[in-house]
């Protein structure tokens, strides 16, 4: 056993499907990332989302690492359904295992960047869109400002005020904004 089942999703799959696959609206054209969340090294912002049919409270959460702006997440959360995001994009981070013995082992691994959704069994599944599989477009999507609009398309989100822009806090301390090497500046005695 190496899988997590989210029973709230499994037992309400029709609702879940509606949440994911039907249109959802946001008002903000600019999402400003200036406040750290629970983790001081991550900037987070939540935006209200209106579903075209459901009245439930839905939030779009955007998070970015302060010192690596290529490391970001977009998450859709509806706490009426479950605590964890019901749809997500990871630009970087760990590879995911799609737990299904009918899939050959080597194909169960999905490296980042990738999207996440839940299947009918309530199991978290990662996948890459054609744009993420193609090196040229994958590279362009490392830019959070471009990627947010790809997320909008994939998540059936519609911005009522045109293309969405992400603004990240001014880099007052001149820390590198794209420090991808986690071992950088760490001393291993």
């Amino acid at each position: 056993m190496a899988k997590e089942i989210i029973y709230e999703i499994k037992n309400n799959y029709d609702f879940y499907n509606g949440l994911c696959k039907e249109d959802k609206l946001t008002n903000s054209r600019v999402i400003k990332l200036i406040k750290p969340g629970n983790n001081k090294n991550i900037l987070e912002e939540a935006t209200d989302v209106r579903h075209s049919r459901f009245t439930n409270n839905i939030k779009l959460l955007v998070a970015v690492k302060r010192h690596n702006h290529k490391f970001f997440q977009f998450k859709l959360r509806c706490t009426d359904l479950c605590q964890m995001p019901f749809f997500r994009y990871d630009s970087d981070g760990e590879a995911h295992r799609n737990y299904d013995s009918n899939i050959r082992l080597e194909n169960q691994q999905v490296t980042t960047p990738h999207f996440h959704y839940y299947n009918e069994q309530g199991i978290n599944i990662a996948y890459k869109t054609p744009q993420l599989k193609k090196e040229e477009t994958r590279k362009a999507l490392e830019d959070i400002d471009i990627c947010v609009n790809h997320f909008y398309d994939e998540a059936k989100l519609i911005s009522t005020s045109g293309d969405v822009n992400i603004e990240i806090e001014p880099n007052l301390l001149n820390f590198p904004a794209f420090q991808e090497d986690p071992n950088h500046n760490v001393t291993f005695i």
Partner: protein
């Protein structure tokens, strides 16, 4: 028998090939991220980071366990988890270093290039085991969530109040590394303040938290390092469900009398600068 032997050999070759394809890598500045076939119970594949430093090869977790990148909790004050962490750390001879107040790295290193696969094997097994263990609910779910919430809030508050080079979070006071406190603030080279967090999702857990702090501070008062302790402060989570004054006051009063610690309510946390 011959036919069956062939089938087994084919399956074995397929397994080898399939496993082999689970390795992947990604260049990250001066390090190489290596995605390994080792996986957690939460459907994550483990990544480790290889860096060449002077003449040594260092394989690290990239600080990902501490950062919770595997969507894992990391609470070294939780007794059961702490024991599991120590067990795997000692078994695989994994070192740790604190890169800054809130970043802990686990690593192994060698000067022998031939030994790199071996230390990588150890570190990846260590990370997979620890991350999977972090997913076990050792305590009541609400209590665990409450404790993590307050711990994160308090850590963020301290990091925003004091400069990073003065703070050590979730650290030990003594050379034996047995007396663990939530934070140590350095006042001068020979003066420190110990900070402990007290919270609970109900009065029972709140009193447990007080009792544990009481015990830790008693041990601290007997440690060789006690001469460096300038003050001890307990941050009291007066927003938690367990904070019901008439059910916890006996324990709180005993803590204050017994250890001479300063009690600081979370609602008045800004006063901490005056106490240190």
């Amino acid at each position: 028998m011959m036919l069956q032997g062939n089938i087994y050999r084919n399956i074995y070759a397929d397994i080898q090939q399939s496993f082999g394809k689970l390795w992947a890598c990604k260049e990250r500045g001066n390090s190489l991220e290596i995605v390994t076939p080792f996986a957690t119970t939460s459907q994550k594949f483990i990544s480790v980071f290889l860096t060449l430093r002077v003449n040594e090869y260092v394989v690290t977790d990239g600080g990902w366990i501490c950062e919770g990148i595997y969507e894992n909790d990391f609470d070294r004050e939780e007794d059961c988890f702490s024991k599991i962490l120590s067990h795997y750390q000692n078994s695989f001879d994994v070192q740790e270093t604190i890169a800054s107040a809130d970043r802990i790295f686990y690593y192994k290193k060698t000067s022998n290039i031939q030994a790199v696969p071996s230390i990588l094997f150890d570190l990846a097994t260590f990370v997979a085991s620890v991350v999977s263990a972090a997913g076990i609910d050792f305590v009541d779910k609400f209590e665990k969530e409450n404790k993590i919430r307050f711990s994160k809030q308090a850590n963020t508050f301290l990091l925003n109040t004091f400069s990073k080079d003065r703070i050590k979070l979730s650290t030990t006071l003594d050379s034996r590394k047995q007396i663990r406190v939530n934070a140590i603030i350095t006042k001068s080279p020979s003066q420190i303040s110990l900070i402990n967090y007290i919270t609970g999702s109900n009065p029972y857990f709140f009193n447990n938290s007080i009792s544990k702090t009481n015990f830790i501070l008693e041990l601290a008062a007997k440690a060789e390092e006690r001469i460096f302790i300038d003050s001890t402060i307990c941050l009291i989570d007066d927003f938690s469900d367990g904070y019901i004054p008439n059910k916890i006051s006996t324990f709180l009063n005993h803590l204050e009398d017994n250890t001479k610690t300063k009690l600081l309510k979370w609602s008045q946390k800004e006063r901490i600068s005056h106490l240190i």
